[in-house]
Point group: C2
Chain length 339, copies 2
């Protein structure tokens, strides 16, 4: 078992900096696209043998130091009573969004081991087959709430914020519901065998620090507190570099950074209290091999002094990326300081 990733999570010394890539199982890989030829996205998530197969693909191709369960942060929404579709053109669409307080009455608490049993099954297959740690994940409550209210992706989150600012009690009731269900969902993943979990807060950068403190952070804290150090928790609050000190109050063991912040700045601000994950701009993989090597080195240099560092992109790998470039990046991380 390659435990470099878990050592870095715990802030222990490692022989080299471990690396994995957000969306490492995905459309940029021809092997993934081949599996998808015969199955739609949501069916793939719900079919343990296939979900396990695509989870494993990047381990062999890229030689990364961790696997991440192939799924989507919106998968748990269906059994909650949300009518979810993944459109190839438009991304996720929710056909019955939450728009007023009474809409909350139709939400149902989920029993993950029952209604999402395919997730636990996928995890069990994977832990038998792979020799790197498996990362489970869930969306953070604020991000899930915006999808439920907006009905999909959004530019300004005006519907979600209108509910938040007009009827905060309704918004917070939704946040409580999502938080409780997310705790159960993550615990079920941990019981099935994941070695770490990542909480994706993709849209939390839409909030001011004041609103983040009130409407998002307490719910992430509650989840992390409920996990109670059973496994390391990574919190990825995308586009929140201007309020990093608040993000660190989440209690996460690892703070994942996007590329908008200098990693040495983040290390200084967090003063060695947590491990750090990140933070290469995914578009650097459109550059030359020399550029990739140079920028990987800059990040690894900048992360010196961190309690632990896990190399990653600052966001998911883009579908138009060449797998060769991703391999170059992983190699550059693993070979850093060796020549």
């Amino acid at each position: 078992m390659n435990d470099t990733f878990l050592k870095a999570c715990r802030g222990e010394k490692t022989e080299y900096t471990p690396v994995w890539i957000m969306r490492q199982a995905g459309r940029y890989l021809p092997q993934y696209r081949k599996v998808r030829e015969n199955v739609d996205f949501l069916t793939l998530c719900k079919t343990p043998e296939l979900a396990a197969e695509v989870t494993i693909q990047p381990l062999e191709i890229l030689k990364v130091d961790a696997a991440i369960l192939f799924s989507d942060i919106l998968v748990p929404l269906e059994p909650m009573g949300i009518d979810l579709e993944f459109s190839e053109a438009k991304g996720p669409i929710i056909h019955n969004p939450i728009r007023k307080e009474s809409d909350l009455d139709r939400l149902r608490n989920i029993i993950p081991d029952d209604e999402l049993s395919f997730v636990a099954e996928t995890i069990k297959i994977l832990t038998q087959k792979i020799n790197v740690p498996l990362i489970g994940f869930a969306g953070a409550p604020f991000t899930i709430a915006t999808y439920m209210i907006e009905g999909g992706s959004s530019k300004n989150f005006s519907k979600a914020k209108t509910i938040m600012y007009q009827t905060p009690q309704a918004f917070l009731r939704l946040m409580d519901f999502i938080t409780d269900n997310t705790i159960n969902y993550l615990i079920s993943q941990i019981n099935a065998g994941v070695s770490a979990v990542q909480i994706f807060d993709s849209w939390v950068g839409a909030l001011s620090p004041y609103d983040f403190s009130r409407y998002a952070l307490p719910y992430v804290q509650k989840i992390i507190s409920a996990i109670n150090h059973k496994v390391p928790v990574i919190y990825f609050a995308f586009n929140s570099g201007s309020m990093l000190e608040l993000v660190a109050k989440s209690g996460a063991d690892i703070i994942a950074l996007d590329w908008r912040i200098e990693i040495s700045d983040a290390v200084n601000k967090l003063s060695g209290s947590v491990a750090i994950q990140g933070n290469l701009d995914p578009c650097i993989l459109f550059g030359t091999d020399e550029l990739i090597k140079e920028r990987v080195s800059l990040i690894l240099n900048g992360a010196k002094g961190a309690k632990g560092h896990i190399f990653n992109l600052g966001h998911g790998i883009l579908p138009e990326t060449s797998p060769e470039k991703a391999i170059r990046m992983v190699d550059a991380v693993h070979n850093y300081g060796k020549s």
Copy 2:
């Protein structure tokens, strides 16, 4: 003449905090929509009497302390040889984007007083008619470059970054071209009579601090240096709160903030060296009157200690905003500390 805005720009003491709103002349106003019934967006920009009329509308309706020229950051692109369309559905579309170095050969330097004479005419009409300072503006080179390359708005700026990372010399040649023309354009606005200028860097938040320092900041510095304190310069680097110290190196007199940073944090980081503009989340205007008043007060409290403070939203006012709420906001700023 109400010179509160200009006093705040210069860091002088004011009786109250001046306020204006980005996109204050725009679709949220029924009076603006009435003018637009008979004229498309680009024609409106190019018709001095009408552009002046919509510039004046919010002064009377909102009682703001500054006017901003009605125009668009992409208006100067047409005489450069860019085929520009404003689509009601999709926003700006460029039909002949820059995709390779040889495409740069078809760009033409502009003579603003000639090819953009409607801008100077609009400014001259306005300075006769209004009793608040008039703000001119231009897009920052990086933001303009992304439009030219992507051909419109973009999610990941992958085309612009591919050029930047694959052929930096081509990207920087484009940046030089835009910078030189932007200097001439802003100088022509200043000569026509604007009292201040704002440089909009709407997409610069797509860059890491490392790339911002290399591919964006030097060009903004060159523009501000060329303006040479003829009028105060506001630099609005949207979504750059995690690299505020770098943004301040632009040399701007006023740094405009989005809502993702606590204003007191910004004041501390800039240690009183520049004035600050901002930074209410535009979605707060979807909230109750009480909420608006409360959040305005929080920002005004937080800005104490700044060298100067100009109140504004942290981004353009959204089209679905009620004008009544914008009036409430302006009143709250003007009445702060009076009861």
